[in-house]
């Protein structure tokens, strides 16, 4: 799965999401994703991660996606988090 496909898949499940996808192994199966969407409001971390992870169950089962690490934020949270993250990137 390439980066564009990963992004498209998340958009299928969470159409209003703002998404950043990074591959961190140099190949095409280790992904780090940032997903920002109002859909996460009021949801605990486990529920948030399930929303994203469930979109990749098939590819993870086959090994096509080997790792999927993520950050999930509402737009309000991201407004607070973003400046903090920028300090380290």
């Amino acid at each position: 799965m390439n980066k564009e496909q990963v992004k498209a898949r998340i958009l299928e499940g969470i159409p209003d999401a703002e998404i950043v996808v990074n591959e961190f192994s140099g190949g095409n199966d280790h992904y780090a994703v940032l997903v920002v969407s109002p859909v996460f409001a009021g949801k605990k971390l486990l529920a948030r991660h399930r929303l994203v992870l469930d979109l990749f169950q098939a590819e993870i089962a086959t090994g096509e996606v080997h790792a999927l690490t993520m950050k999930t934020h509402t737009p309000d949270e991201w407004a607070v988090e973003k400046p903090k993250q920028m300090m380290f990137t």
Binding site: L45, L46, H49, D54, F56, Q57, A61, L68, T69, K71
Partner: protein
């Protein structure tokens, strides 16, 4: 799903405050995400039980089915599945993990 593993998991998570299903062992983790979770619990000085998910494909399959969670590591606290490395790391950062463990 393997019935023996399911029984063992249910028993272990009941009898241990923290159980980490990981790749490898705390001293020799076979994956960076597993290593990070081990480091978090070590830093908090919290005892935890681990099981190597690579030791038996049936263990991985059983955990995946029980939690509908396909990846490693998988962490239980107080008998409940809490998620994987991202979630434990984020809970540690926010202080929710320390609360959950009764450390604060």
């Amino acid at each position: 799903m393997n019935a023996n593993w399911k029984d063992k998991i249910e028993t272990d998570v009941k009898n241990n405050k923290v159980v980490v299903y990981m790749r490898g062992t705390p001293n020799q983790p076979r994956c960076g995400f597993s290593a990070r979770v081990v480091r978090v619990f070590n830093e908090l000085n919290v005892p935890f039980k681990t099981e190597d998910m690579d030791s038996d494909p049936d263990l991985w399959k059983t955990l995946s089915a029980m939690n509908n969670w396909p990846t490693s590591p998988q962490i239980y606290i107080n008998g409940e599945f809490v998620g994987g490395c991202d979630i434990v790391t984020e809970m540690y950062r926010s202080g929710d993990l320390q609360k959950e463990l009764g450390l604060t």
